[in-house]
Amino acid sequence: MGRDRSRLIAAAAIVPAAFVALFFAYPVVTVVWRGLGGEGLAPLADVWNTSRTRDAIWFTIRQAAVSTFLTVAIALPGAAVVARATPRVRRWLRALVTIPFVMPTVLVAGAFAELFTRFGLDDGTVRLRHTVWAILLAHVFFNYAIVVRTVGSYWAGLDHRLEEQAQVLGAPRWRVFTEVTLPRLRPAIASAAAIVYLFSFTSFGVILVLGGPRQATIETEIHRYAVTRTDFTAAAAVAVIQLVAVLLLVALTTFLERRRPLTSKRSHPAPPSSVRARLLNGAGVGVLLGLPIGIVVERSFATGSGYGLDHYRALGTRVTQLPAPATTAIRNTIVYASIAMVIAVVVGTLAALVVVHGRRWLRHIFDLGLTIPLGTSAVTIGFGILIALDEPPLDFRTSWWIVPVAHSLVGIPFVVRTMVPVLRRIDPALREAAATLGASPGRVRREIDLPIAHRGLVVGTAFAFAVSVGEFGATSFIPRRPETLTAPRALFRLLATPGDVLRGQAMALAVVMMGLVAVAVIVIESSRSTEEGTF
C-alpha cells in the first residue's frame, strides 16, 4: 500500500505544482530577473541603504505582526460563539462576518472617517485618521472573518469533554481555556494567523487611504518604484526583499503548525455560550463590523429626496463612465468568482492532501510554495504575467481567464490552510479501526476522511469565492477588455467622477457585492449542516 500511496501523492502533486509554477513562479522569476538586469545583488544593497525603504520594511513587519495579534485576540471570542452556536445561527454569523472581507477599501475608509468624526476621534487629542491605529483597526475589520471562520469551524469539531472534565476537577474557567482549549486550537490559530499576517503584510489600499501619505510599506514602495517612477530595478530589489521576508515568515508558521497528536475520536460539541458571552460578543462585533457596513448600506439607500431604491434601479442602466450597465459587471463578477472558486478547490484540495500525506520535504515545499503568492506584491505577479506569459504557446496575458486564475492564486492558500489542520486532526485510530473492521482504503477515505475534510473545505471555498468578488491580488495590473469589467472595477469608475448619482450607484453596487458574498457563504455552508454529527 505504501508504494501505491506515494504514487497517488505524486499524481496529486502534479496539478498544484504545475499551476503555481506556470502562473506564479515563472512570471515572478522573469520579472525580478529582468528588473535586476544582471546586476546581481547590487540593486538590493542600493534600496537597503535608502533609509525610506529600510523604514518601510521594518514598519511592514511590525504593523503586520500587531495587526495579526489584534485580529486573533479580538476574533477568538467570536470564534467561540460561532463554534457553539446552533447550525442555523452559525450560518448567519459566518455570512455576516465575511461581508467586510469584500468591501472596497475606499468605502471602508469613508465609513471609518464618518465614524471617527461622529465619535470625536478625528481631531484634538484623540486622532485616528491617517495614523497607524487606523491601519490596525482596518486590518482587524477586514481580517476578522479569517480567524473567526478558520478557528471557529475547527473549534466546533473539538471534543468538549476534556474541558468538562477539567472543570469537574475544579479548574477555573480561564485555566481551562489557556491550558486545555488554547493548545488544541493552536494549529487552526497558526493557520489563520499566517493568512492574516500575509494579508496585512501586502495590504495596499488600507495603508494609502487609512494610513495616509506618510506611511510607507514594502508593498507601497514596490508600487512607487514600479508604477510611479518606472524604476523596475529598484522595484525588483524591493520585491526580492519581500519574497525573502515572506519565505522566512511562512517557514516559521509551518514550524508552529507542525503536526500534533490529538485524541478526539468523535466531535462532542460544546454547549452554547452563555447569554452574557453572546451579548458581549454581539455588541463588539456590532460596533466593529456592523457600523461601517451599516453606513455603506444607509448611503446606498440615501437619495436626493430621502430614502429609496433609486440607486439600485440605476444599476440596470448604463452610465457614460461604464462600458455596460453595472448589472453586467455583477454578472461578470459572479462568473469569475465561480471559476476562481472551482480552480481553488480543485488545486487546493490536491495540494492539501500532499501537505498532509506527502513526504516531509514535499510537504514543506508545497506549504511554502502555495502560501507565498499571498505575501507577494500584486505588482510583481501582475507585471510578471505581462512579460512572461506573452508569447505562444504561453500567450495568456490578455486572455479573459487569466483574471480568475490570478484570483485563485490567492484563493488556493485559503483552501489549503483551512483544510490542512482539519485533515491532520483525523484520528489515525479511527481509520485503523475502520480498516480492521474490513473497510477498504477507498472506503476509509470516503467515509472518514472526506466528511471531516469537508469541514475545512467549505470554509476555504467560501473565502476563495470572496477573494475573487473583492478582486484581491494581481488583477489590477492585468489589462482588461471593457466587456469583462467586474463589480469592484465598475465601482471605482463610478467613484472617479463627481456627482451624487454616481456615488449612490457605487454604494448600491458595493451592497450588492456584500450581499453576493453573504449568499455564497450561506449556500456553501448549507452543504455542511447535513454532515454535522455524522462523525
Binding site: 475606499v106 469613508g110 472617517a113 464618518e114 487611504v209 495616509g212 501619505p213 514600479a226 510611479t228 518606472t230 437619495t303 436626493g304 433609486d310 448604463r318 457614460t320 463612465q321 461604464l322 462600458p323 455596460a324 450597465p325 448589472t327 453586467t328 454578472r331 459572479i334 465561480s338 472558486m341 472551482v342 478547490v345 507585471f383 505581462l386 512579460i387 506573452d390 508569447e391 490578455t398 469537508h454 467549505v458 471555498t461 489590477s476 495590473f477 489589462p479 482588461r480 477588455r481 471593457p482 466587456e483 472595477r489 471605482f492 469608475r493 467613484l495 472617479a496 467622477t497 463627481p498 456627482g499 451624487d500 448619482v501 456615488r503 449556500v523 452543504s527 455542511r528 447535513t530 454532515e531
Partner: protein, 361 residues
C-alpha cells in the same frame, strides 16, 4: 458525496443568477465588421486594432461600430489601470506591445513614454484641425486628442462666513483659508502631481508656497476619491477647497441628486495645470496602417464630440462642438500653467522628494 453535489448546485445556481443579470449588452460585444453594400471603394481586409488605454476611457459603442462598418477596423479596447500604470506596462512590454495604439498618455508622463521608445512616428493629416500649441512632440510620435485642467475647486456654500472665493493661487496660503484645502500626494495621484506642477510653474517660490500651505493646515490624501469624497464637502467632509478638475462642476450638475441648475462648486482658474492626453501607434504593431487610421479616427468629430460627456475632458479639435452642460458650467483657464514634458521628466523625482520633505516631513 453530498458535498460535491452541493458544490455543483452552487456553481449552477450562480450561473443562473449570472444569466438572469445578463442583458442585451452581449450583442454590442460582437459588433459586425461588414461594410455596407453601397460602399463602392474596395473594402480593406477586416482587422482588429487593440487600443491600450487607461481605466477612465469611455465612449459610445455606436461610434466604434460605425467606424468598424466604414473601415473594416474593429477597435478592441484594453484598459490598463491609471495612466502611470499604463505607461509603465507599455515600457515593460516594449517590443511586444499589449496593443496597437495607446490612448491617454498625458504631458506629465509623455517624456517617459517617449524615452521608453514605445511609439512609432505617425503624422496624422487630421492635425490641421488641432491648434498648434497642443502638439508637444515635433517628431509626431504622439498626437494630441483631448485636454483638461486640474484646478482647485471650492464648495460655494461651504466657504468660511463672509469670505470671498480665492482668486489667486497665493490666496490658498492666506489664513482665511486655514484648514480648508485638501490636496492629493503627487507620489500617488495624477491630479496631485498636476497641482504640484501648477505651483512650480505658477508661483515665484514653490518650496516657500508649500511651506506656507503646510502652515495653513493643508490636508494630504493618497488619491482623488478620498480627497473629494472623504474630506471635501461633496462627500460630507469639512474642507471647502479640493484639487480636482475644471470639468468637475458640470459633472456635479449632470449627476446631481436631486437635479440642480447650477453647480455647487466653482473653480479657482489661477490654479489650473493643463493636461493634454495623446495617442500614439505602439512600436511592434502588426498593423501600422490600420493603427494610424485609428489615430485619425480619434480626431474625427464623431469621437471628439463624444469625449466631454463620456470622459469629462475637452476635445482638441476646432471642429468639435461642446455639449450645453459644458458650455454653461465648465470654465477653462485662458492661461493655464504648463511645463515642458522633458523638464517634468528630468525633475519629477527630485520635485516629489522635496515636496515630501516639505509637506509630510
Amino acid at each position: 458525496m453530498k458535498h460535491a453535489t452541493h458544490l455543483i448546485a452552487l456553481v449552477l445556481s450562480l450561473g443562473l443568477v449570472a444569466a438572469a443579470c445578463s442583458d442585451d449588452t452581449e450583442s454590442s460585444d460582437e459588433s459586425t465588421t461588414t461594410t455596407t453594400a453601397d460602399d463602392l471603394e474596395p473594402s480593406p481586409e477586416p482587422v482588429n486594432i487593440t487600443l491600450l488605454t487607461h481605466d477612465s476611457f469611455a465612449m459610445k459603442q455606436s461610434i466604434l461600430d460605425d467606424f468598424a462598418s466604414d473601415t473594416g477596423i474593429t477597435v478592441v479596447v484594453l484598459n490598463a489601470g491609471d495612466t502611470g500604470q499604463m505607461v509603465s506596462e507599455a515600457i515593460l512590454t516594449a517590443g511586444n506591445p499589449l496593443g496597437d495604439v495607446m490612448y491617454g498618455v498625458d504631458n506629465t508622463f509623455l517624456q517617459r513614454a517617449l524615452d521608453g521608445e514605445i511609439f512609432e512616428a505617425y503624422e496624422s493629416p487630421s492635425l490641421d484641425v488641432v491648434p498648434d500649441h497642443f502638439e508637444l512632440d515635433a517628431e509626431h510620435r504622439v498626437t494630441p486628442i483631448v485636454f483638461g485642467d486640474v484646478c482647485v475647486n471650492y464648495w460655494i456654500d461651504a466657504l468660511p462666513e463672509g469670505v470671498p472665493a480665492p482668486e489667486t493661487i497665493e490666496d490658498l496660503t492666506d489664513p482665511r483659508f486655514a484648514g480648508d484645502l485638501v490636496v492629493q500626494s503627487p507620489e500617488t495621484s495624477s491630479p496631485g502631481l498636476a497641482f504640484l506642477l501648477a505651483t512650480i510653474a505658477g508661483t515665484d517660490d514653490w518650496e516657500q508656497f508649500w511651506t506656507d500651505l503646510r502652515a495653513n493646515d493643508v490636508s494630504v490624501t493618497a488619491g482623488w476619491e478620498d480627497a473629494y469624497y472623504g474630506e471635501f464637502k461633496a462627500g460630507g467632509g469639512d474642507r471647502s477647497l479640493v484639487v480636482s478638475y475644471a470639468s468637475s462642476p458640470p459633472a456635479e450638475v449632470i449627476f446631481a441628486d436631486p437635479p440642480v441648475d447650477t453647480p455647487p462648486t466653482g473653480v479657482l482658474l489661477d490654479s489650473c495645470f493643463r493636461q493634454i492626453e495623446f495617442a500614439g501607434v505602439l512600436a511592434g504593431t502588426d498593423h501600422p496602417e490600420a493603427a494610424a487610421a485609428v489615430i485619425d479616427f480619434l480626431l474625427t468629430p464623431a469621437f471628439q464630440d463624444d469625449v466631454p460627456l463620456s470622459m469629462f475632458v475637452f476635445p482638441v479639435s476646432d471642429d468639435a462642438t461642446l455639449p450645453q452642460e459644458f458650455v454653461d458650467h465648465a470654465l477653462l483657464s485662458d492661461d493655464p500653467h504648463i511645463l515642458d514634458p522633458a523638464e517634468i521628466e528630468a525633475n519629477r523625482d527630485a520635485w516629489t522628494d522635496r515636496w515630501v520633505e516639505i509637506v509630510l516631513g
